[in-house]
Symmetry: C2
Subunit: 383 residues, 2 copies
DNA sequence: GAGTGAATGTTGTACCCCCCAACATATACC
DNA sequence: GGTATATGTTGGGGGGTACAACATTCACTC
């Protein structure tokens, strides 16, 4: 784990180079050298290793217009891929994502009833069988689950909307596919993805909060790494209590963010049905009636209290809002900012910025693939 | 920062050995070898370096009763020391703490009025002048402040009870003493100290919450390291809102843990004055009247809600309670446990244990010294 | 009390990794 | 075409750890 021998140094430096490419895209050797702090000759040797491992390609340098010998461009091989899986109540999304973070292919499997975990696993395994063939090198599977996942063994402990309670997911799927499988909470992965590729690029302390049909999920990045807690359940900001109200959320808990800040109420307010959620943002932002404003501000106020609590606890630099929470933010960002700044302690509140998610539909495929790529990025030579 | 060269390997291995001694006390070379995973010969060389640096001593092995060549006992030199400082509203405590974590000497400076930061700094500097002399090697100063501290530069941003707002502390004290000075929030240091030496030994995810005369402070250890957030203000659990009540805390925020869970109310309930806080625990635990129980349970309930919020967010393995919060816990641990388990999500709640602080009065000297020793432990060769 | 086995310190060698310096190469600019 | 600039390439050097062989010390046994 921690370094102590020269082999570990090599592993770390290979990892640094590969991760640098993963986060920053194709780069010249000299850029890699500057970013990693390693010597030119060291970077040359590291890149040669990565080429030999089949993980990166070197291309002739693009004309840079600058003096000096051109530096070859190193890029990640897109045929090294991961499978990203996202089971939801009405559809199972499976994507193939290249190491260059491009989504190569996406397959959506709809079902009429909420599937059991076993059903989801066997469907996933069957789809993966079809995807793995070909000249592609699939290094693993990452699964984003809307619920609590035990990080150690990939057991879905509590996914209320899917009615999955304490079901093993990683192990059986790995058994069926022969691939390493990693499972995590969807919002956790969202937080990481926004940090790597979205609104939180380069931010070491951020909070991601997503609002969907089924509720509110949260993920935390603290000190540059995903905050998982002792078993991987950290980040459940949706179930933080923000009021003495007795309205209950999906987990049966009263007065929580998820109970009081709901997409359903917003849809109803602007006269949309549950199936028309796509239109919510447009309709809501166009509707400036007092009645709507009252509902939205009520929700924004509660959201602000919840965020303030989290800000007091975590002192993040950035809060990224996704789903209908981003819509709420766009409706009246000033109001939400004011609420958070009032309800959070001065110094912490002064730091924090609230922004909308940037990755949109790419979020979960990217995040799940990131999870699947993690072992490769940490130890390139083992592949 | 991150390792990449063989010098970094050496630094890391020296740090590993020294930290291992710091956390586990005197150890034989073979124990160090087992704990660090380094080869016998490597450990021999590392220990020799540490001896040459004047940081550790080797003693003749105690008879172990086991077969085989006895392994010399390596122990930290107690004459390598740090100064631990803790300004409070009525007294300034300054301790000399050895690298073996023993408190060598403590000086308390009382004052009639709350001192300004400048006064506290000059008193501290004067006391330190007297302490540094002698055959002792003082490597730094650690300061535990009851308030928010910007970790980057040791500026006390907001310490309401001391009336210190945005006052530089580390820089001027360092200037006066010629020693490196690190400043942090007291509860943050408490969390680290309990993890290293107290109730949270070996626990990688814990929450520490202290209740004192002036309010409630919190510190977080997540993933094995102190969670500071973007500027070091993380952990302010006292100002998390747990109710719609309009009772305000010291920061003027309504319905927070600190507003509703107070030592003053407990003292009043059992008929003690503010100056008799020492007697609170004894008196409270002896008093089983209904009136007292009602007050205590009300506080325990609020505390439980606040803890549940934090547990949902952080999924700690352990919550350590200090000060009068430990008294509350002792009064009715079952009730507090039940409240937390009810208000937190199932899986997270199932993990968490609530315990009382173990370090007592040693907490802050140990924690502040730990902060001061940190650079030494991370890079022994630079001293 | 001498012998045996076990555990550990010590020493010299081998290997790995990174850095550095010198040289080679490729481009821009004049 | 020459010069300056930037970067790849190569060989040597230094630092660090692991390993194997040997040395040391203790407990146990006969």
């Amino acid at each position: 784990m921690v370094q102590g021998t020269s082999e570990d140094v090599r592993r770390l430096n290979l990892s640094t180079i590969l991760t640098s490419l993963y986060l920053n895209g194709p780069s010249s050797r000299s850029q890699l050298s500057a970013r990693s702090g390693r010597n030119r000759s060291t970077v040359g040797s590291l890149v040669a290793d990565l080429v030999a491992l089949g993980l990166v390609d070197e291309q002739d340098p693009a004309p840079s217009g600058m003096a000096g010998r051109p530096s070859p461009i190193v890029s990640l091989r897109p045929d090294v891929a991961a499978i990203a899986v996202n089971p939801e109540i009405d559809v199972l999304t499976i994507s193939v994502v290249g190491l260059d973070s491009r989504i190569i292919q996406t397959i959506k499997h709809s079902y009429s009833e909420i599937p059991s975990a076993d059903e989801a696993i066997s469907i996933t395994a069957a789809v993966i069988q079809g995807l793995v063939s070909g000249p592609r090198r699939v290094v693993g599977v990452g699964v984003a689950v809307p619920g609590q996942v035990r990080s150690q063994d990939g057991v879905v402990t509590h996914a209320p909307h899917l009615h999955w309670i304490d079901v093993p997911f990683a192990a059986p799927l790995s058994e069926l596919t022969g691939l390493p499988v990693a499972v995590a909470n969807d919002a956790s992965l969202g937080a990481r993805a926004e940090r790597a590729f979205g609104a939180g690029r380069g931010v070491d302390n951020l909070l991601y909060l997503n609002g969907g049909a089924s509720g509110i999920g949260g993920g935390i990045v603290a000190g540059g790494t995903s905050l998982l807690g002792s078993h991987g359940y950290a980040g459940e900001l949706g179930h933080v209590r923000v009021s003495d109200s007795t309205v209950r959320d999906s987990a049966g808990m009263p007065g929580t963010l998820e109970a009081l800040v709901t997409r359903a109420q917003l849809l109803e307010t602007v006269g949309l049905g549950c199936s028309e959620a796509d239109l919510l943002e447009e309709r809501l932002l166009a509707d400036r009636s007092d009645a709507t404003a009252a509902v939205v501000h009520q929700q924004l106020y509660r959201l602000g209290l919840g965020l303030a609590n989290a800000v007091n606890l975590l002192n993040p630099e950035l809060v990224v809002l996704g789903g209908f929470l981003a819509t709420l933010l766009r409706y009246d960002a000033d109001f939400l900012n004011a609420t958070v700044h009032e309800a959070a302690l001065g110094p912490s509140a002064a730091d924090v910025k609230l922004v909308a998610s940037e990755l949109g539909p790419r979020l979960l495929p990217t995040g799940a693939a990131q999870l699947a790529f993690e072992p490769l990025l940490n130890d390139p030579a083992s592949y």
